[in-house]
């Protein structure tokens, strides 16, 4: 009896071992680009999104009039050329483009898309197109946006969410809520997509430029940072985000790592009026916070070198970088002196974190501020509520990315009295005057004014800059022509990528 049972058990173990062995190594699917991603897709209508991490899910499917280069440069896409004057922008459109549902792309489709964004059901994007007072369809391939105010950054805005083109038929029927319908090189395959986990994109055979369709399929897998690293290590992913905690292991393994310039991170001081934290109304206190932050140590230890520390918004090399800015870098003695001069021993303010990345940013900074008696009380908020929290008026300050690339957008989002992220409606007349003047000038003449505006915002402690955080990306040897996307964590361009 015992023998029989023992034999049965042994047989079971052998069968299981065979099953494991039969499973075999995880082979790379031919002509498929498999990507690890940290967040699931939210809404398929791009006009209802703003979080840059969601761009990856939209990128294969949607295109705008204006394309985006690796450093954010403007490229022709659905518009072959454009001409901007003080009062308008006129676009010449491609005449060989169709949406995934067969609808023809033309000037009327563009007009319907601008109307969708401006409908106001998603204010953050509607505000981005506020400068467009009306849209004039000249003919099928020509369209003019009439402007009611200066719009120096409008073309950059059109590269992303608010400028991506959705089939007007899908907008009308609301089918875009379920499946994305754009003009992009790939289409979402809803049957093979598992919501929240895996998104499969297949080739758009009607695409107007087949030369950019380097792979037949794109598979975006929503994974934790550990799974991305392990999935990449085991050969199940061609591209994966690399969390700073894994950088030493990735470097030791000799993986190819891309580090496109990431979003600039700063401790945003919202309560400049001192409404909920009176101490923050004093510029000396805000500057003390800046002196208390050891940016170099933060970049080296916390971000494993994937960061360029900075006390101002624009890095060296940028046309808006200031050489004349006061030294606001780490100086604990000076920070304590300023606190003493202001007669403040210490104070507490609430801030928030939505995930591990923000915990990683907040906790070391909280530790540094503690050294001058400032307690940063970190509260947990749900994922996707970052901008709601920032604009709620409940928090005096928070570490947030500056995703706005152009100084005009930076001003509109953070500094203007009616800015979305200026919940206490603080007004700095000098900065307002500079921004309004620069917005009416051409790019070259406006540059010194934008530089001055950025310098003043830093020196007056409206934003305590930490630096530019580079979100490293691992790329396997099989994947070629992968380019990182600047100012967009872990984002790459899918166009032109091939897999061997």
């Amino acid at each position: 009896m015992k023998k029989k049972l023992g034999m049965s058990l042994l047989t079971g173990v052998v069968v299981l071992a065979m099953l494991f062995a039969m499973a075999g190594p995880a082979m790379a699917a031919k002509d498929t680009l498999r990507v690890g991603w940290s967040v699931p897709a939210r809404k398929w209508n791009p006009h209802l999104n703003t979080a840059v991490m969601l761009l990856g899910h939209l990128e294969p499917v949607y295109e705008g009039l204006v394309g985006e280069g690796p450093k954010g440069e403007l490229l022709p896409r659905l518009a072959t050329k454009w001409e901007q004057t003080k009062d308008s922008i006129t676009f010449t459109l491609r005449d060989d483009v169709v949406f995934h549902d067969g609808t023809k792309f033309d000037a009327n489709a563009v007009k319907a898309n601008i109307a969708d964004v401006q409908s106001g059901r998603y204010p953050p994007n509607a505000k981005k197109l506020i400068a467009i007072s009306s849209v004039e369809v000249i003919d099928a391939t020509h369209i003019r946006f009439h402007l009611n105010r200066p719009a120096p950054s409008l073309l950059y805005t059109l590269q992303r969410f608010a400028g991506l083109m959705v089939s007007p038929a899908a907008l009308k029927s609301n089918s875009v809520d379920k499946v994305p319908v754009g003009t992009g090189p790939w289409k979402l395959d809803p049957k093979r997509t598992i919501s929240g986990t895996k998104y499969v994109y297949t080739l758009n055979k009607e695409y107007w430029d087949p030369s950019v369709q380097g792979v037949a399929e794109i598979e975006i897998n929503v994974l934790s940072v550990e799974q991305q690293f392990n999935g990449f290590a085991s050969g199940e992913l061609e591209v994966a985000g690399l969390h700073s905690a894994f950088v030493p292991r990735a470097k030791a393994a000799g993986y190819k790592i891309l580090s496109p310039e990431g979003p600039h991170e700063a401790l945003h001081i919202y309560d400049r009026t001192g409404k909920i934290v009176p101490e923050l109304a004093d510029p000396r206190i805000r500057r003390a916070l800046s002196y208390a932050i050891d940016r170099k140590a933060f970049a080296r230890v916390v971000l494993q070198g994937n960061s360029i520390p900075s006390t101002q918004r624009y890095l060296p090399g940028s046309q808006w970088h200031s050489e004349e800015i006061e030294d606001l870098s780490y100086n604990l003695k000076k920070a304590k002196e300023l606190m003493a001069e202001a007669g403040v021993k210490g104070f507490t303010f609430d801030t928030y974190s939505q995930d591990a990345f923000f915990d990683m940013m907040n906790e070391p900074i909280a530790g540094m501020l503690k050294k001058i008696g400032v307690t940063m009380n970190i509260k947990s908020i749900p994922i996707g509520q970052l901008f709601v929290a920032a604009s709620s008026g409940k928090y005096a300050a928070s570490i947030m990315p500056l995703i706005e690339r152009h100084p005009y957008d930076f001003y509109q989002a953070k500094l203007a009295p009616d800015a979305f992220m200026n919940p206490f409606k603080y007004e700095d007349k000098e900065i307002d005057a500079l921004a309004k003047k620069a917005a009416r000038m051409d790019e070259k003449s406006a540059a010194p004014l934008w530089t001055e505006m950025s310098r003043l915002a830093a020196e007056r402690g409206y934003l305590i800059h930490i630096g530019s955080v580079h979100f490293a990306i691992m790329v396997s040897k099989r994947a070629k022509n992968v380019k990182g996307r600047s100012f967009s964590p872990y984002n790459i361009f899918f166009r032109g990528v091939t897999v061997e």
Binding site: F20, P382, I383
Partner: protein
Amino acid sequence: MIRLILTRLISSVGIFIALSILIFLLMYLVPGSVAVIILDDAATPENIAKLEAELGLDDPLPTQYARWIVNVSKGDFGTSFLNGRPVRDDIIEKFPVTLWLLIGALVIAVVFGLSVGILASLKPGSLLDRSSVLLVTLGISIPNFWLAVLLSMLFAVKLGWLPVFGYTPITEDPILWFKSMLLPWFSLGIVSSTLIARQMRGAMIEVLNTDYVRAARASGIPEHWVVISNGIKNAMIPVITVIGFQVPVIIGGSLIIELVFATPGLGSLTIQSVLDQDLPIVQAVLMVMASLVILTNLVIDISYGWLNPKMRVL
């Protein structure tokens, strides 16, 4: 027996109603307005007021509960706050994954648990028995998520035999499906199997030392038949309860295990929805999981009564 079934049915319905009320009230435990969560970045005061009116949040709580439970009974769990997708679609998509996970883990738990328990009980105190006790103690002590990480590192990352993450539907590719489920099954099943093994060993030792087993042996019935017909059959009565208890244990464990392997079942959906404060999904998943556990307990109770006549009078 009919009395037992009726009693258990009534108490199950009572538990279900009580749980549904608690699950419904979740919406009111979240700080702030639900409308703010739904609107996200579009949460202007006008939009919030408009949406609150549309959702009927001003109605009395019993009215809101009645409306919700009627919709739930029709399979309408509302729409996701985040992506506007009907929650029912998510449940339909994810439920089979968790069900497969549950079935596979349970099969592993039962097969391994019973085999080890029976083998160990045949010669108490032997090397085999002591080894099995050691294994059982080890199994009970290991948290399933840690076991999952170890298995993943060994079989997926180091050896490359199995995928690190993901899931392939059985209809798409049965072999890939099997590959993607093996590690989650073992991670969940091994710990439960040790509990079953412990119970089976104890029950078998007790039964094999009873007078009627001795009488059976004395009457010349072959040993393997004594073990099967007298030993295993009678020892199974308490073991079935333990197996039943493993259903909620495995469902609970699936929350973490699905996350570890990125398995797109109800567990990972729950965690993601809790993080996103996507309440309709959280409520729907809890309702489905609670129903599954209540139903399992009901079946266990009834089968226990069927196997053990003494239970029928309770």
